[in-house]
Symmetry: C2
Subunit: 403 residues, 2 copies
């Protein structure tokens, strides 16, 4: 008898949780499991702000997939080009792969809102590749400063577009990193500018205003300038053009980082599923309406928060919870028996890091700040490792100190 083929696309938080659950829950004779990922490693997307600033080495934020999956899973290192949902096959850069059941967990793409020049000139915090490029770019700007007869202070200006989660966390790391860079490259700290530009009327939209104030004040103390309610109009080779109301201003900057939002993976859009900016509103079992054999989880899925009738923002937390449910439901589908589990998001809260030993957040409904919040952030980071790879992965990659 032919075994059903289960194909999981993407080894991010959602994909890896799905695969690690499936390899336990489905017997070797029940289905063939294939995991496709463009790298042979998984990376912690929520740690990339550290790798980008240079406060954590990028190898600390990634691990080999082969150490997590067992021999039952067929791993294919390749890039997904397109999904043919009618023919039930996935086109890869170097081949094709057929499926009976498909799990799409391809993650997000940056949302540039059509702003001119962003793709060409701005750096992103989206992958190991982009993180270490950004780190090296900033270091190169500092290293170059003193080599020039005419000092270009704009080399030392870093503009961060977006005061959401990623933007704020990156600013927090810069607050720690910039004094180190000044020392390393003999640069006067007073020449450095770190500017955060946010189009919304507040930093950390959706966060409790008290926590927002705490975060903004603490980052300002570290030297960050905030331009709130200010939109980036264009990114140019040597800076950005911003506008607040009718006033426009050109800010010269050696480094522009775009951290102002994500959309679903373009492969999902191009596959022809009904979507909003690459995110598909899945059913209660995480399936695509009309395509019971296709599950979508993580940043490419869209789940409505009934309380406020708005989509949950894409986070690692929701992706991992979806992965658990998805694995169970794929197992039911493969067997053709049992009952699928309805997905419901259990929001344990969220914590935004503000650099070393500082953070703000809400955990189990309680507001926390400072070292306590920073500790909780590390607990959350370690928990993500634990969920995927158990205690041995926590020991290998976890954030803790032996005292």
């Amino acid at each position: 008898m032919r075994k059903p083929k289960v194909v999981v696309l993407g080894a991010g938080y959602g994909g890896l949780i799905t695969v690690t659950r499936l390899q336990k829950q489905i017997g070797a004779n029940e289905a063939e499991i294939t995991l496709v990922n463009k790298n042979d490693y998984h990376y912690e997307t929520t740690w990339l702000h550290e790798a980008s600033a240079g406060t954590l080495h990028h190898d600390r934020a990634r691990y080999q997939i082969k150490n997590i999956i067992d021999s039952r899973v067929n791993f294919v290192k390749d890039t997904v080009v397109s999904i043919d949902k009618e023919a039930k096959k996935v086109v890869l850069k170097n081949g094709e792969i057929e499926y009976d059941y498909l799990v799409i967990s391809l993650g997000a793409h940056p949302e540039t809102f059509g702003i001119k020049g962003l793709k060409e000139y701005a750096f992103g915090i989206t992958s190991i590749d982009s993180a270490r490029q950004l780190r090296e770019h900033i270091e190169y700007q500092f290293a170059t400063y003193n080599t020039e007869e005419e000092k270009k202070d704009e080399r030392l200006t870093i503009v961060v577009g977006g005061a959401g989660f990623t933007g704020i966390e990156f600013l927090g790391e810069l607050g720690n990193r910039v004094p180190e860079l000044c020392k390393e490259y003999d640069v006067d700290f007073n020449k450095v500018r770190i500017i955060c530009v946010e189009a919304a009327p507040t930093a950390l939209p959706g966060f409790d205003p008290e926590l927002v104030d705490y975060a903004v004040n603490h980052l300002q103390k570290k030297g960050v300038e905030f331009k709130i309610g200010t939109a980036i109009k264009e990114c140019i080779e040597d800076g950005i053009i911003v506008a607040k109301g009718d006033d426009t201003e050109t800010i010269k900057a050696g480094t522009v980082v775009w951290a102002a939002g994500v959309r679903g993976n373009s492969v999902v859009e191009e596959a022809g599923f009904e979507n909003m900016r690459g995110r598909v509103k899945v059913d209660e079992y995480l399936r695509v309406p009309g395509h019971d054999e296709v599950f979508i989880i993580g940043d490419c899925s869209l789940i409505i928060n009934e309380e406020i009738n708005r989509p949950y923002p894409p986070t690692a937390q929701i992706a991992m919870q979806q992965g658990e449910t998805c694995a169970k439901n794929v197992a039911v589908a493969v067997r053709g028996s049992g009952e699928m589990e309805k997905f419901s998001f259990d929001n344990k809260g969220s914590v935004a890091s503000l650099g070393e030993n500082d953070a703000v957040g809400v955990v189990f409904g309680k507001k926390i700040v400072g070292t306590k919040a920073s500790f909780m952030k590390k607990v959350i980071d370690n928990r993500a490792l634990y969920m995927v790879g158990g205690p041995s992965l926590v020991l290998k990659k976890g954030k803790f100190k032996f005292l």
Copy 2:
């Protein structure tokens, strides 16, 4: 009674030896000693190939001048703009300074032989600033490689112009560093090219042919391609144009390093001393002919090797020996009594490093290669520290391992 003013320009090997000797040999009442240097630190010029490749941190190759000089020496951190030899004063960027006795030890400038584009596009191995910029530039090229959809292999090509001492030593370090960079940035070693272009008919001109062969073979084993008898015609934004006879070739390269020669400091030329490419043929007491009050040592001085009737090449070794003699002669001049010492160069040999644990050279007239030569190279490096700062500086900055 007015104390004579002794001004030393430049805290390189020659300048620092002069000042450290003067502060011992001249009493506080005999003269005022001023040292001018553009940085508040001295750096080991002969170690910059390591800092540039990233195999030694640049802080290991420099130390604070204030830790070497005593309170008798007035240190001025400033850049020399010009020397008015008639008015006996030095114009600095931020002031002026008069002298009765002047020691010029300003070091070398790169000699670009008028090759178009070198100043704009090529990196140099000439200072702490340039070394760490070059290191960061190479890292940035490697970091960027994987971020691009269309891979540009030329990002991973490093061209070194010049197979002289600096060029060869830098290539040796690259031989060790490139495998590390490949690991750090997930780059296939086979995509990397390291190309050395030398216009002369041999690498390491002036070295024993047997040692040259050893060096070239060992660097080739590490992946270096040599283009000997090949001239750089032009440096362009994304590479170089070379010519061998009538054949020209464009080599695309993300990094071009110019290490093919130096000339004396332009301040010396502009001061109106008779010179050859910024180097002044000094008398046997290291004074400028016709200007008994001006001593020139190091890369701006020119001493003829009578054996072959050609100038000695500028090295740290000769600069330090000149510093010793110069200090004695300045002391005689200040006192107006005693006899000046004639300078004669005692060539103890020279060793070119080929990276970790490998080198070639001649020491006390004997040819050595491999680990033995590498050991001698470290002895030479440590000796330079010892000469300036004694055992404590060797302990702080020396090249050795505690076993």
